[in-house]
């Protein structure tokens, strides 16, 4: 199989302006992936599917991943002019201080496709797409029209992560019931308070048990 770089070059040649970037995988598995832009993703996917040399005709796995807003704290050295009063006289001096600056990297939802080729028996090619943010820009193009195998899995990602796949023919909840509101696999999902007595409660469960203690249930002081 071609390397990820070669595949990227092939994509760029076939789909002008595809905007594909490589996401490296630092781990020992070294399965690097391609990050598709959502505008050109369908065209790229079609190319990957149809290209006789690549022939990724089998979409093995569709995964949703939730990346929360990340607060990144950096230590920056700042040089400042400081005014001080020394012995009653104001002096100005330059001083280098270390400051921690925080900025929030916006979170996003991500969907990862693992593509293989049954005809050529190679793979996997890891392809990902990212939403704009975690709240309102959660639409991504669906690959179900290209790989039918993504049908149930994209429904599952929609169900559990809330990524809306445009172009999916039958986008409904699949594992949770239709009336369910939230998306339970998101990292900031809050479980409904369905406390059940458990004699060996720990940590989070214990906390919940203590909250319920006033209601006459719960254990361990």
């Amino acid at each position: 199989m071609k390397t990820v770089e070669e595949i990227r070059a092939a994509i760029e040649a076939a789909v002008p302006g595809a905007g594909v970037t490589i996401v490296p995988n630092p781990g020992p598995a070294a399965q690097h992936s391609l990050l598709l832009a959502k505008e050109t993703a369908v065209a790229v996917a079609k190319f990957l599917h149809n290209d006789p040399e690549l022939a990724f005709d089998f979409c093995s796995n569709v995964t949703g991943v939730d990346w929360l807003d990340k607060e990144i704290a950096e230590k920056v050295k700042v040089t400042k002019t400081v005014t001080r009063t020394v012995d009653g006289v104001e002096q100005q001096a330059e001083e280098t201080v270390e400051e921690t600056r925080k900025h929030v990297e916006p979170g996003h939802l991500e969907v990862v496709y693992h593509l293989y080729s049954m005809a050529k028996k190679h793979g996997p090619l890891v392809v990902r797409m990212r939403t704009g943010n975690r709240t309102d820009q959660v639409e991504l193009p669906s690959f179900t029209p290209i790989w039918r195998g993504a049908e149930f899995q994209e429904r599952e990602v929609f169900d559990l992560y809330g990524i809306v796949f445009t172009g999916h023919p039958d986008l409904r909840r699949i594992l949770m019931w239709d009336e369910f509101k939230d998306h339970p696999m998101r990292k900031d999902y809050v479980e409904p308070d369905d406390f059940e007595y458990e004699p060996t409660a720990h940590d989070a469960v214990l906390k919940r048990a203590q909250e319920h203690k006033g209601k006459g249930i719960g254990n361990r002081e």
């Binding site: 004699p199 720990h202 361990r220």
Partner: protein, 208 residues
């Protein structure tokens, strides 16, 4: 010919019908409460706590390190560590669990607690007839119910228990030698004698 396969199949069932009267192979049912098959040694059900010596409370190997509590996937273990220390089987002062509960309604018999225990204190029992009509109390085993003697452990897992005993003896001997050496060294220095290590550090992991 039409019906050939059907006749072949009928002969097969007839063979099994007749065979069930002569061969054990074709009548595999074990009539459970009266007949029981011996469980293999590796068989596991729910955890028990091993104690050395005759007194269960004094001999518990558990030092309330709470590793198993943390590692337990369904979080069915509840340990409360003692404030004071008590001498263990070897005579070294150790913490001990004032409370050690396992909710066997939640326990899924995965044996991870046994694997992570550095003190060979928790092992798996073979007892499976634990049904009770009390959902909470009956299925919540406290440390007294969980405590089983080393002899019992030898009964249910003879090979494994022998290995464990050998390993423990070795460690204890090493620890004793070490503390003795330390004590001698300390005595030689004429300084205040203190025991060496707080506790022995055996390698992690179950028997291989």
């Amino acid at each position: 010919m039409l019906g050939e396969g059907i006749i072949k199949g009928m002969l097969e069932t007839a063979k099994n019908f007749a065979g069930s009267y002569v061969s054990k192979e074709r009548l595999t049912t074990v009539q459970y409460p009266e007949e029981r098959e011996a469980l293999p040694e590796a068989s596991r059900n729910f955890p028990i706590l091993i104690y050395d010596g005759p007194e269960w409370e004094a001999g518990l190997r558990c030092v309330a390190c709470q590793i198993c509590e943390k590692e337990c996937p369904p979080k069915c273990i509840l340990i409360e560590k003692s404030a004071d220390k008590k001498p263990d089987a070897v005579g070294k002062p150790q913490f001990y669990p004032t409370r050690f509960d396992i909710d066997i309604a939640v326990c899924m018999s995965c044996q991870i607690c046994v694997e992570v225990c550095p003190f060979e204190a928790i092992k798996m029992d073979k007892e499976f007839e634990l049904a009770t009509d009390d959902r909470f109390g009956g299925l919540l085993h406290d440390r007294h119910q969980l405590a089983k003697s080393n002899e019992y452990y030898h009964q249910i897992h003879p090979v494994e228990a022998a290995e464990v005993d050998a390993r423990l003896a070795e460690e204890r001997a090493a620890a004793a030698a070490k503390s003795k050496a330390a004590a001698e060294a300390a005595a030689a220095k004429a300084a205040a004698a203190k025991a060496g290590a707080e506790k022995p550090a055996p390698p992690a992991g179950g028997g291989a």
